[in-house]
Amino acid sequence: MSVIQVNQLTKTYNETMVPVTALDHVNLSFARGEFTAIVGPSGCGKTTLLNMLGGLDKPSAGHVMIEGQDIAVMEGGALVDFRLHNIGFIFQSYNLIPVLTVKENVEFIMDLQNKPRAESDARVSYLLDAMGIADKINLRPKYLSGGQQQRVAVARALASKPKFILADEPTANLDSKSTETLLELMANLNEKEQVTFIFSTHDQRVIDKAHRIIVLEDGRVISDTAQTKSA
């Protein structure tokens, strides 16, 4: 069953004299528990597609249906609430809140969801254990390495028990060892929690780990292939 259904998704930017089409009638669907990489050259529309899937930007035409709800027509607070309960985000530059500790960063999103303290404490412990950073729980992000910060970001994205996670170039700022570790951890959590992961990436190591690879070029899907899991 698909978690996300994208129909005729089009995004045109009219900020210059010549309109630029970033996404051109894209049709896609993502099933529960998928581990998908969206690849393609710079400017092909990867980030735009992620922004549309995450409800961060509005399409010029088409629909983004998430379990039957079209987020393309949602506005303001309702859309923010929808993201809070359904979508997790991982950014290239980690983007943790620097004044909060690791624990507070992860529980931040659960506080926004008004989860009971005991439940959020248990979830934080579980996720930080799973990400291998339980010993960093009371540190602020500036005392962590890039790889550790990105692991906190993954824990934060998973904390709200989202239906899917959007990760925009999550390994771009990481060294190869950190990338390997992070991918391994994400793959484990993907399996355990059955959360759909959608990456935009140039990183071959991420592509190798993906179950499905979607190639975009000039805003169009030129290939969409499944691949067997790497060992």
Partner: protein, 407 residues
Amino acid sequence: MKQFIKLAWRNLWRNRRRTLLTLASVFMAVVLSIAIRSLQLGVYANMIGNSVRFSTGYLQIHAKGYWEDQTINNAFLANAGLDSLLVQDPDIALSVPRLESFALASSGQHTKGIAVSGIDPAKEDAMNGLAGKLIQGQYFESGSDQGVLMGDMLARYLQLEMGDTLVLLGQGYHGATAAGQFRVRGIFHFPIEQINGSIVYLALPDAQALFGAPDMLSSMSLMPRGSAFAENTRRQLESSLGDTWEVLPWQTMNKSLVQEIQGDNAGGIIMLGILYVVVAFGVFSTVLMMAMERKKEFAVMVAIGMKRWKLALIVLLETFFIGVLGVVLGGVLIYPLLYQLHEHPIKLTGTVAETYHQMGMEPIMPASLDPQIIITQGLTVLLIAFLSATYPIWYIQRFSVPETIKS
């Protein structure tokens, strides 16, 4: 809410030096605005206090029409009913009877037109400390044939000394001639030149005898229990006394002082306004920097599910913390200084003191301890701090999440 307070407080200390500098500017604004306002209002209160104690009182009761036509013919008969009404009023601390008129004061070849004030010695002393202002001689006792008290300036002008005789000549009640000789019983010195050089005091029975107006008074001056009478007290008195009386506040009887204070007050408020503008820019620049350097963080927070109004609330809380810290510190630290200046006012000297004397004021600058000043200035600075957050809040409501994350 706890989460927002925690975030706002920690955000404040991201750049400790900048926050401390902003706090210092708010602190200085509060200190300066309270100090300026407190001294200004303290001086006004002193001016008003001097004026009302030495002349009208805060309220004055006359026969209807006296204030418009201040002749002894408009005096009224002292009566027990009025006294008992005033004694029973809980807002009135003191009621001071006077019979006031004008006369020509003469001694040898010297004459001068002066005000003659017939007074109840004990009550007058309680109102303005007249006995304590004597530099020679003795204050009045009860009864008649007490002689006259005069200011040192007038005594010099008329070349009179203790024990000399002063002749007073004027018009008495209903056209009778007012003429009498009075021994100089005491010479006083007031800080106010107008009183020193143009008034003599007689005991009330002596003044009533001089003007041929036995048991008559021209006014009853009232002093409040607190710092001033409420307008309501005046209205109640007027209504209790009836149509044949008038109860006037000092503002009606001393319009020139009111205008003088209003003019000076406007200047003070403009000065405060300039100060507020300077502070507003200081706080605004900090709040703006604090917000703009976190644009990306704001965008991420909105992306992951934080509503924009909650983000705006955090920025508002940050501004609130800066404002409240500065206001509380400023208010707490300035109070001891104000207290010192209230108890031991700055004594003005030189030409400034001379100007004060000429204007009939004591040349001192006391500070007012009215808590309203601290509250008003504190709230004003706090409001400025909040207004400084307007632009960042507006920005938070409008920024584009994907563009800001990409930036």
